[in-house]
Amino acid sequence: MKSLAELQAIRDRAKAGINLRKENPNAARVLVGMATCGIAAGARPVLNAFTEEIAKRGLTEDITVTQTGCIGICQYEPVVEVEIPGEEKVTYVKMTPEKVARVVNDHLVNHNVVTEFTIGANT
């Protein structure tokens, strides 16, 4: 059973160790479109895939995954925007959980945009 005591332990560990980071100003951001259009097109498994892939690689302090609204290109959902400080924002379209690992590896880690998944290559 999950207990509050366990949660306390997590708290103590978090406070002891990672307190230094607080808000990492250089953190990259992954924004998943989660309005009606995005959700209906399958944004939730995409967001979960990003969260898992980033946790698996131990990058949770360098990359934050969050949601955004509809940016008006509903026909291309699930849409994911990747923002790396100092680099141009990239919009990926028609994302799937299978495409996530490549975006994390190629783009977020190695700074090579996965051009074939971007909106420019899909219009």
Partner: protein, 184 residues
């Protein structure tokens, strides 16, 4: 929507945009009564009577990036197509309550789906908002209240990965228990 849990995520998003600080999601399920009820209640900015009437109309939206708003109409349809009911109550400055009830055995019933994932994502993406998630079946019930977790966490954010993992496992365990699946 393929799962009702996705409708819930969508409707809860309206609460987030209405700047709610507390969102209550309640899922009550009864095989005995052949009934599933989903309630989403927030303390956000609310809507005027006129807006409440408009929100049921698919060609109304408060946003400006597109001309349609399908969130509420889809949720309403999902309930009514099973012979269930839908209601939305709102008061400016006080908040909004959306309630959908379903006849579970109806052929057009959409499965509830992964409601726990919806809850975890809502917390993950809105760590400053409090969520109260309650679920009940004929054999039991449980509640997750982020206000209680926040008290224990004492400043550690709810979107810390280990905390989210704890929440996820807690929800899984509790769900299993009220579905009669596990022994404690």
């Amino acid at each position: 929507m393929r799962e009702l849990s996705l409708n819930v995520m969508d409707i809860a998003q309206n609460s987030v945009r209405a700047e709610a600080s507390l969102v209550k999601i309640t899922v009550e399920e009864s095989d005995k009564n052949d009934l599933l009820t989903i309630t989403i209640e927030d303390n956000g900015c609310g809507m005027s009577e006129e807006q409440v009437a408009q929100v049921i109309d698919p060609f109304f939206t408060s946003r400006t990036t597109r001309k349609v708003g399908l969130g509420v109409p889809l949720f309403k349809m999902s309930a009514e197509q099973t012979g269930g009911d839908f209601e939305i109550k709102s008061k400016l400055g006080e908040g909004t309550l959306t309630k959908a009830s379903y006849v579970k055995s109806h052929v057009d019933m959409t499965p509830l789906g992964d409601i726990n994932s919806t809850v975890v994502i809502l917390i993950q993406c809105n760590p400053d908002i409090d969520f109260v998630f309650s679920r009940s079946t004929d054999s039991g019930s449980f509640t997750l209240d982020t206000r209680e977790l926040r008290e224990v966490l004492d400043g550690v954010s709810l979107d810390t990965p280990e905390v989210l993992e704890w929440i996820k496992q807690f929800l899984e365990e509790q769900t299993q228990i009220i579905n009669g699946g596990a022994h404690i």
